[in-house]
Symmetry: C2
């Protein structure tokens, strides 16, 4: 049987999972690949650190140059996080004639165009299934399985940490701090979870998916984003009473031929697939103009789900399929975006608004008046008298009909000035 030399650079959790699949399941991988994937080097940072997989001494090294210099290595799983030295190492690997598989979404979102163009110049390929939605093969599904379609919308729960936290808060009444602590204990959240809970991780993944699905080349730092770190538990409760769950949604949609991108907590009707995604799971709900709605659900992170995606990419790379996809799709090639970005202010939506208002007559009339002035009509109003925290101040929840983002924003600015409104406490989009 033919052999393809492979290497792993970065032996953290995912790297160890990849090594385990290649070693413990070598026969199966060989059967599925029609050739043996032969692990030649596993590059670690610290040779002395104990690992949960035993590898032969001549495989483990702390010198990435050994991989670069070994011509028998054709495919490298490059599993270092962050931008540098990950970027420089990837360039060196490509220049040494290796095809590279990565799980690094920050690197893809930030330096995709540079890396992909360089790979193409060198006749090499980059695969990145594991960079978005972990074990869910969303990259292959969008770029290959749904290739007859124009994707018209794509919405996902792409950050497992946030979804775990919000599920614990929503379904089991945990506080935000308790839920974060649990997520850390379970290994779902890092010691500093800010990139997860502030929406950064989700927005980087959305940037990658929106390139695949729409041919967009968004600057991920410019996509409007909000995380779950400022959510009030009361809004989860009020939303539930209205028949919704709150989820951190990565949102993309073609509206009038322009692309709208957005990451933030949104209300989703209970019983619809995205609303029922629990714990650390991820999901993607997409609509193609031919296939209609499709929905994918699976583990978005974790050692073996991510390793599953990395090894599938290594197999595809070794057999030559990725090369073809890479060349035909011209991923992140130099040149124009295929779609213009819409003005975020134009994005229509229904909104959930929560106000702290004075407990006095005529409040609703004043608020409704301002909303009406901005062409926003009210679908329903809920006054939660029992929840008054400050003497004489009560929460008021309003659900609106469709209005443009900019109308909602200017209405809120004006509402904040009303004497009877102590504070516009929350505004969340309701997913259509």
């Amino acid at each position: 049987m033919e052999k393809t030399g492979v290497a792993i650079v970065g032996m953290g959790t995912v790297g160890a999972g990849v090594a385990r699949l290649l070693y413990d399941q070598g026969d199966r991988i060989a059967r599925h690949a029609g050739r043996k994937l032969w692990l030649t080097h596993a590059v670690v940072r610290d040779l002395k650190k104990p690992r949960d997989i035993d590898l032969p001494a001549d495989v483990v090294t702390d010198d990435v140059q050994k991989v670069i210099d070994d011509d028998s290595v054709k495919v490298v799983a490059q599993l270092i996080g962050g931008i540098e030295p990950a970027r420089t190492i990837m360039l060196k690997l490509l220049e040494a004639g290796k095809d590279v598989v990565t799980a690094n979404k920050a690197l893809m979102a930030q330096h995709g165009p540079e890396l992909f163009d360089r790979a193409r110049q060198l006749g090499r390929a980059i695969a990145f299934e594991a960079s978005v939605a972990g074990g869910i093969p969303i990259v292959a599904n969008i770029s290959q399985c749904l290739s007859a379609n124009q994707i018209v919308s794509l919405q996902g729960i792409l950050n497992g940490t946030s979804n775990y936290i919000i599920t614990r808060m929503d379904l089991e009444g945990a506080s935000y701090d308790e839920a974060v602590k649990e997520a850390q204990e379970l290994g779902y959240a890092e010691a500093d979870p800010s990139m997860d809970v502030d929406g950064t991780d989700a927005v980087q993944k959305l940037a990658i998916l929106s390139h695949l699905a729409f041919g967009a080349r968004p600057d991920w730092t410019k996509i409007p984003k909000r995380g779950i770190d400022q959510l009030d538990e009361a809004d989860l409760r009020y939303a539930r009473q209205l028949g919704f769950r709150v989820k951190l949604i990565a949102y993309s949609k073609l509206v009038g031929g322009k692309l709208q991108l957005l990451v933030g907590p949104m209300l989703i009707k209970i019983g619809t697939p995205l609303a029922e995604v629990r714990a650390n799971y991820n999901a993607v709900s997409a609509i193609g103009d031919a296939v209609g709605p499709v929905f994918f659900h699976g583990q978005g992170a974790g050692q073996m789900p991510t390793a599953s995606a990395v090894v599938a990419d290594m197999i595809d790379m070794a057999v030559g399929r990725t090369k073809i996809t890479f060349e035909t799709l011209e991923l992140w090639a130099e040149g124009q975006t295929r779609v213009d970005m819409g003005d975020p202010g134009d994005l229509e939506g229904k909104f959930y608004l929560r106000f702290d208002v004075k407990d006095e007559p005529n409040v609703l009339a004043q608020i409704a008046g301002v909303l009406g002035k901005h062409e926003i009509s009210i679908a329903s109003v809920y006054q939660h008298d029992g929840d008054a925290t400050t003497e004489g101040i009560v929460p008021l929840v309003i659900v609106t009909h469709l209005s443009a983002e900019k109308n909602a924003s200017s209405a809120i600015k004006e509402l904040d000035q009303l004497d009877c409104v102590k504070k516009v406490a929350e505004r969340l989009r309701i997913l259509d």
Copy 2:
């Protein structure tokens, strides 16, 4: 831009959808394929029949020989249903040097080994994404995206007609006959829907998936099957009261290294993904040993969802990806099955049992005694007094704990002999 000549043989609903994508969305397809798919021939049965797509006169023909003789045609979407002449035409196309894309699950399930071996001898490939689950790209996901995994179980709702009928009965109280009639009016069911409602269609699709997922080579006619055509509406109601929905499930699972295959109506806990699949949708829930549980949901039939799968296959074929998959996976190659089939009698499960019993004391004790003798313990008992249809006879529903299929069968045989049991009216497996 490079051009690949393609043809469609069979211009029914799906064929017209494929032609529409190739014609109306030619630029998009070219962008996704890196080449133009050039429709050279569309073979119809009757030239005079009106169609809902206008094709140039020199493209439409009723002579498949034109396709066979045209060396510029490299990829053919062969969209004729049934076994013959579909089989003979496919062999002729392969022998003429064409790669073939098909949506014909009956042909794949019945003659897969013959056709695949012949294609391999000839250096050609066959793609069949559209033959299972319509628009859900389950073939590519199992055979490529999850290739690092051993699939350990795979359960699906694969027949949209049955799911439509059962959804209407369960959620809206339609009778079986009403629901069948509606399904026919909506185009979800054929004039003779027996292949759908008796489980034949689902079992053929399960045979294909079990080959991909487990390397099995089952004779589809020997897979235990039951359809939805004999279901009693009362059982949908009782199941719902117990927190379950009834769905037609194609079931496959590795148990002790052996493969269990089964098609039949089963109870699924409300709120779990498969239970909430509505109307004519399909879904597949799989577990891989690395990726864990993954779930796919989409339209299982219909013109454009199926055309989406066919055209994706045509693109993969034209760019060369399918060829690689076809060769590396050795689909349906001559040789041994990679997994032995388990004895259906050994398959454990929890069961829903409904009895018509005499309304007299001591009935439950007698039934429980027989079940206990066969090592079946009772999880819960529900007596539906109000539902007595015949004087003195009442329905009794029992939900069991885990027991082997053969124990349940022999217990039921014995229960049927009890004087107090008028009839064992239903036995349904509860999906674990």
